[in-house]
Amino acid sequence: MSAHPAAGPVAPEDARIADKPALRRFHQASWDEKLIFELGSPGERGVLVPEVDPEITEALGGTVGLPAGLCRQTPPALPEIGQQQVLRHYLRLSQETLGADLNVDVGQGTCTMKYSPKVNDRFVTDERIAGLHPLQDESTVQGALEILHRLEGLLKEVSGMDRVSLQPGAGSAAIYANVAMIRGYFADRGEAETRDEIITTIFSHPSNAACAKTAGFKVITLHPDADGYPDIEALRAAVGPRTAALLITNPEDTGIYNPRIAEFVEIVHAAGGLAAYDQANANGILGITRAREAGFDLCHFNLHKTFSTPHACGGPAAGACGVTEALAPYLPRPTVEYDAESGRYWLDDDRPHSVGKIRPHHGVVPNLVRAYAWIMSLGAEGLREVAETAVLNNNYLLHKVKQIRGVSVPYAAGRPRVEQVRYSWEQLGADTGIHSEQIGVRAADFGTHYWTSHHPYLVPEPMTLEPTESYSRADLDEYAAILAEVAREAYEDPETVRTAPHRSTIHRVRPEALDDPAVWSPSWRTYRRKVLGT
């Protein structure tokens, strides 16, 4: 589970190291690398496909290749480049990033950046998984279906729910599936028109509001009470005959666990609505609390971060949505079923109340295999240990960070946090004029970084850290030391912070490349059109 020993008692010599972690001398690689489309030359190839052997042509009766009607009129506009150049190109690019496997990635709060065991990659690149086609007859993919069925069983146990769909391709897709099921549930009761409001909270996973809106619901957002907890009185004021559901994260993105979550669910149920538990922040509660016991009707997991596969920012995603028996008819189809009599697994596509497909076929199977392997390697006790270690690491880092000048921990004063903390540099900002974004950028000069917060910033000058179970005490000490050093610079040498980064590949990313639709270029074709003007 963990690459290094987690936080805990240390020997005196270790403590000495922990007290004075050396700041790393770091400079990011800079290759001034062109885009791959700008490399190579016409006719250059990575793979030379040999001519068809005459014996094969003869055996096929003289016909080789696709019929003319199935062939493109013009060849695809692909880079023309050799294998070594391709390998070098991507290695160089990889050195110009701060990937999850390269830095102490505790700063990507809410994203649950944890170690993804490399052995799981071997499973999914195995021919028996990588070689499958989604349209194969189910009789030929019994092993894959068995893994999916078993994974559903494991997630049912983790969540307490009656059925789980693995079809969503990401956390947001799973939330959307839940919202679609809520809509289907009320449509069957003749309440689709009247129950058109979904309630969420401002510190919940923003995908809740986004998915509800995408599905056509009106969204009511609750702001926190003075202590930072979801405001239960606001919920009472919000619910009514138009309430379709509450979509809520717990712990929220502040890392604060809502101890009255069951009451929240009861209030919504009393108004005739459903309650869906967003478990994007499940890493600190695995094996400790379950959605079912809090009374939820639906829940979802981000399998791609909580359950081993790297977060979607660094790789493809996978989501799972769990429901009670009452919602099970609305699950995406097909579901994976098991016939005990024949001992065969089969796909049930005959589900008239289903919300349909959330994505084609059976979900992102490689990530589902990773999740299955990860859970099986840990067992029930291991899952709980993951959560406990993540919470311990988080509160250890909290203890270290709150000693840094200029930092504060808004809300729920003196209370521990679950798996992450949203800190505030408000005092440092007031004292020095340095903003949180600038501190995060300066941290890149020490080989790491952090993320501030979703917008809008409810916590002023925010910083969100989530250390997960993967990081050692030395990692956390190093990270805290970097923050302390940048804070010291902000007070004593603010210009160094203001003009950072100084040791990165690119000094400053042009914000319009991210924000301006007239400039942003997600493909070579749009880059040529928008930037190069060709």
Binding site: K213, K218, I220, H223, D231, E233, P456
Partner: protein, 434 residues
């Protein structure tokens, strides 16, 4: 414990009559001509009454007459007068001299006024902790209690538990008139006063505009339009947000003051008689037609909808504007006084849309006193809408929205949770406090 009180008797005069402030004798004279009634004295008395009902363990020092003595008397308190203004109308110099006279004699000085008065207190440089009783119009400064009763409550806390609350420097701000001339609503910092800080009971300063992102404003405007009945006169409070929303609805309005909009097109394509088509008919058959409110540039009386009353040709309604969509509103009248709003409310259903002051959270009672308790009581249920971008709400950092209409019962009635329109089909449930 010695408490001082200085009242600027003319503070707030311009509020209900839509003058945006009360500084300067010309503005004050104009306010009185428009029917303004002084309120600083009575609000100061309310603060003192709150103080007195919590403790009597203090001595009160004040200035003569309307500068404090009358308020003390109205609150049933005796006070030692240590400053007497010159005969005639009082001015900033009287405030400065009164503060200097009282400053050395008291432990906490209460002053009643607005941002202009706060600047006078700053100029006096008395060195004594102060607390503003909010009786002005704008009050962008962070030196005021959230309402007069809160001022009395904080002063009582000061008397009962010296040393608590903590005294902090708080910003004295005033509207940046140069920025306003450039079309920006902004505040200028003049300095700091030492103020007893009690979270939620002492107001925050107005923050700079959080910006009105076009996508957010467009969504708010569309939601607002969807909630407006065809016959509603849309009344917008001042501010950057409401101005941007009005622009998204197709109307150019000023940053300050209270503005009324009507639908630009009823959608029927009529060439005449558009008053009735636009729904600008009286709400009940026994009411007279809407009275003309102002003169058009040619000097003709115009009706609420802008049609010329005296038999002149009525302009054809613009074509091709989708009914109920943004860009379907136009300006009816701006800088409305409370009396004009009442007249409007008498004959037409109003839909009132306000946006809180950024960083401060005041929805009513700061810079929009024209929207009086009388007008608020005429509104039908659901006809008071609150508009804010999510960024603006976030900038309150979980502090509640605030109201200070001057009518405690109404403030209590309106308090609770309000739905704030943050986008198309999106609302935030937010605390409204008094």
């Amino acid at each position: 414990m010695r408490i001082g009180l200085v009242v600027n008797p003319v503070a707030g005069l311009g509020g209900r009559v839509g003058l945006g402030g009360s500084d300067g004798t010309d503005v004050q004279r104009r306010a009185v001509e428009l029917g303004a009634v002084p309120c600083a004295g009575s609000r100061s008395a309310a603060a003192l009454a709150e103080l007195a009902c919590r403790t009597r363990d203090f001595e009160l020092f004040t200035a003569a007459g309307a500068m404090g003595e009358e308020s003390a008397s109205a609150a049933g308190l005796s006070a030692r007068v240590v400053y007497r203004p010159r005969p005639g109308d009082t001015g900033p110099r009287d405030t400065v001299e009164a503060v200097r006279a009282l400053g050395a004699a008291v432990d906490l000085l209460l002053f009643a006024g607005g941002d202009g008065t706060a600047r006078d207190v700053l100029d006096a440089d008395a060195g004594t902790p102060v607390l503003g009783i909010p009786t002005g119009v704008k009050m962008h400064s962070a030196v005021f209690a959230v309402n007069p009763r809160a001022a009395g409550e904080i002063a009582a806390g000061w008397v009962l538990d010296p040393g608590r609350p903590e005294v902090r420097p708080a910003e004295v701000m005033d509207r940046d008139e140069a920025a306003l001339r450039e079309g920006r609503l902004s505040s200028r910092l003049y300095g700091w006063l030492s103020v007893p800080y009690v979270p939620v009971r002492v107001q925050q300063r107005k923050a700079g505009s959080t910006g009105a992102a076009p996508e957010a404003v467009g969504g708010i405007a569309a939601e607002l339009a969807s909630r407006a009945a065809p016959e509603d006169v849309l009344v917008l409070g001042p501010g950057t947000t409401t101005q941007a929303v009005a622009a998204a609805l197709g109307a150019e309005i000023p940053l300050t003051g209270v503005t009324a909009l009507v639908r630009a097109d009823c959608g029927c394509g009529c060439a005449d008689g558009c008053c009735s088509c636009r729904g600008l008919r009286p709400r009940a058959p026994d009411l007279a037609p809407a009275p003309p409110l102002h003169l058009n540039p040619q000097g003709h009386e115009t009706a609420l909808c802008g049609c010329v009353v005296a038999g002149r040709a009525v302009p054809r309604a613009p074509e091709g504007v989708p009914f109920g969509q943004p860009s379907s509103y136009r300006l009816l009248s701006s800088h409305l006084t409370s009396d004009q709003l009442l007249a409007l409310a008498t004959h037409h259903p109003l839909l009132l849309a306000l946006s809180p002051i950024g960083g401060q959270g005041f929805l009513l009672g700061r810079g929009n006193q024209q929207i009086s308790p009388e007008i608020l009581r005429t509104l039908a249920p659901g006809k008071l809408l609150v508009l804010a971008t999510e960024a603006k709400l976030a900038a309150l950092h979980s502090r509640p929205l605030l109201i200070d209409t001057g009518d405690d019962d109404l403030d209590a009635e309106l308090s609770g949770y309000v739905k704030v329109l943050t986008g198309r089909g999106r609302t935030a449930l937010y605390r409204l406090s008094h």
